[in-house]
């Protein structure tokens, strides 16, 4: 009996070792394929694009991919073939993860190998990865990125101030106070932003001959639109508070406005930070819509810069850069929203000062 149990123990540790092995092989296959190729490209040089093409089609690149493929197949077969026989949950999770990573490597490698054989491959690389051509335009690129942030941030500031005011109006007990705010909010939510920009700039600003730049008009229209969405966010934040919070304030003699200012709004604002930041991310992307109105040269944001630069070079690398620009701005914000939401769910924000 004792020896049987001992043997079970041995199997257990052997299988744990095996499962770790599968996980490592699976992870290694993906790292070789992606990081290995990237390093190889970097060492060979990424400009001009012809270097990228020759690296990508070189036999050395092929050997990297086939090595990765071999590792991946080992991980897939070992992982999905054995996971049912694992003795612990951790071991099972490890082999399944190894198999899944291997599968991803297979997909990446097969797609890439097929793609680089195609007759459009070098044209594709030239279209999207001719970074050397962007050189003279990079100063304007950073200016455009800065403008994107300023447009979105200013719009968001107007939107939050307007939104909080509208939310307080919409929560009024009096229909005559509530109704106009509700009409405004629903109008803004019901009309496409492109339409608002057209009407606001082409119709109002140029139509009436006002001396306002696209940049400023864009900020105002974005803000007026964001105000409607912020209002709904603030309203839901205020309504999510318990009724007793307001009653306690009123019963101590605070006026409605005092109660809102000192008790309700400070709490509501904490709760709505994640959805407001989500809206900010959307606003960052929506700044690109202003581009169709035609910015002054120094006022251009990322999309306007990208299409102008494309127009000059007839090359899409400007779009690649501009997409990367948006991601550099938005991804950290998205991460922050997720982190804040997790903190809110665990109740930490409610208590903290």
């Amino acid at each position: 009996m004792a020896s049987r149990i001992e043997r079970l123990g041995e199997w257990r540790s052997e299988l744990t070792l095996f499962s770790l092995g599968v996980l490592v092989v699976g992870a290694a296959s993906l790292i070789v394929a992606v990081v290995g190729s990237a390093l190889f490209f970097l060492v060979q040089g990424v400009t001009p694009y012809a270097k990228l093409v020759s690296s990508a089609t070189s036999p050395f690149q092929a050997s990297i991919l086939y090595t990765a493929l071999a590792l991946a197949l080992v991980a897939v077969i070992a992982g999905f073939g054995t996971y049912k026989r694992m003795l612990t949950k951790a071991a099972r999770e490890a082999v399944i993860s190894g198999g899944a990573l291997g599968l991803q490597t297979v997909l990446v490698c097969v797609f890439y190998l097929a793609f680089r054989e195609g007759d459009k491959f070098s044209i594709f690389v030239r279209q999207f990865f001719s970074f050397d051509k962007l050189g003279p335009f990079m100063g304007q690129f950073f200016n455009a990125a800065k403008n994107t942030v300023i447009l979105a941030f200013s719009g968001q500031l107007i939107g939050m101030a307007l939104g909080l005011t509208l939310a307080l109006l919409v929560l009024s007990n009096r229909v005559v106070v509530r109704a106009p705010a509700r009409v405004y909010i629903n109008f803004m939510r019901g009309v496409p932003l492109l339409m608002l920009l057209s009407v606001g700039y082409l119709g109002v600003v140029t139509g009436l001959g006002l001396d306002v730049s696209v940049y400023k008009a864009g900020i105002v229209i974005l803000g007026l639109n964001a105000g409607a969405y912020s209002a709904e966010i603030f309203r839901s934040g205020i309504q999510s508070l318990e009724r007793g919070q307001l009653e306690a304030a009123r019963s101590l003699g605070m006026s409605y406005l005092q109660a809102m200012r000192y008790v309700i709004v400070p709490q509501a604002v904490r709760r709505v930070i994640p959805p407001l930041m989500n809206e900010f991310v959307i606003l960052i992307k929506d700044t690109s819509l202003i581009a169709f109105l035609g910015f002054a040269f120094q006022d251009r944001e990322l999309l306007a810069w990208a299409s102008d630069t494309y127009g000059e070079l007839f090359n899409s690398t400007a779009f690649t850069a501009s997409v990367l620009g948006y991601l550099v701005i938005t991804l950290p914000l998205i991460r922050l929203v997720t982190a804040l939401e997790r903190r809110l769910r665990s109740g930490l924000v409610g208590i903290g000062a």
Partner: protein
């Protein structure tokens, strides 16, 4: 009962919530320094009645007098009246984004317009009064239910009200925390505070109450001395209610 010494007088109070008729003609006078305890089955309208006294519920019909003035008069400054009537709720309703001290000081600053030092000193004094002088910097989430409720009492008392309303303030507490809150109320009663107390604590009603009111179905069924009602309930409904909870 409606002599000149009464601090609160309700006349013919009705309250409807939509189709629901919650208060059906309540007349009640509360004498100065009296401790009026209201008991009754859930849904009988006790909390609603209590909340009409500081106009958290506006009566559908009837008049409320406080300290000689009709406060249901449309020209009354309700905010001003409420500074003289403290209320403590079942759910504490402390503000979680402020410290215990902040919870108390904010209305002293913004409503009574005290200076920052005056507000802080008075808030600290009230916290010490309920035995929580060392918790001034704590946020509500860091306090036990009983401590939170005592902060809520201190918050109401800091306004120096003439009347205190208590709305089932021990009902949300763990049993071992009830006593500290009841003790605070008892001391307040002994200090001569006029109090209207909705509660299920029959021991408190018997010991501290100067008057007991039994409500059922939106009306006052019985009104008298606690000892007498407990020993000889006059109405069958009172008898049935007391037999269920005692």
């Amino acid at each position: 009962m409606s002599g000149n010494s009464s601090l609160v007088r309700l006349e013919g109070i009705h309250k409807h919530f939509g189709a629901l008729h919650v208060l059906k003609g309540i007349d009640l006078a509360v004498e100065k320094s009296g401790v009026v305890v209201i008991i009754g089955p859930s849904g009988s309208g006790k909390s609603t009645l209590l909340r009409t006294i500081n106009l958290l519920e506006e009566p559908s019909a009837g008049r409320v007098f406080f300290d000689g003035r009709e406060i249901t008069d449309i020209r009354t400054d309700v905010n001003k009246v409420r500074t003289e009537i403290g209320i403590v709720f079942q759910q504490f309703n402390l503000w979680p984004h402020m410290t215990a001290l902040g919870n108390i000081a904010i209305s002293l600053r913004k409503v009574l317009k005290l200076s920052q030092e005056q507000a802080r000193d008075r808030a600290l004094e009230e916290l010490e009064h309920v035995g929580l002088g060392n918790k001034a910097g704590a946020h509500p989430g860091q306090l036990s239910g009983g401590q939170q409720q005592r902060v809520a009492i201190a918050r109401a008392l800091a306004m120096r009200p003439k009347l205190m309303l208590f709305d089932e303030i021990t009902s949300a507490l763990d049993p071992e925390l009830v006593k500290e809150v009841l003790d605070t109320m008892k001391r307040l009663a002994h200090e001569g505070m006029t109090m209207v107390v909705v509660t299920h604590e029959m021991g408190f009603a018997r010991e501290v109450g100067t008057r007991l009111i039994f409500m059922d179905d939106g009306t006052i069924v019985e009104d008298g001395l606690p000892k007498e009602i407990f020993s000889q309930p006059g109405d069958a409904r009172t008898k049935s209610f007391l037999s269920h909870i005692l």
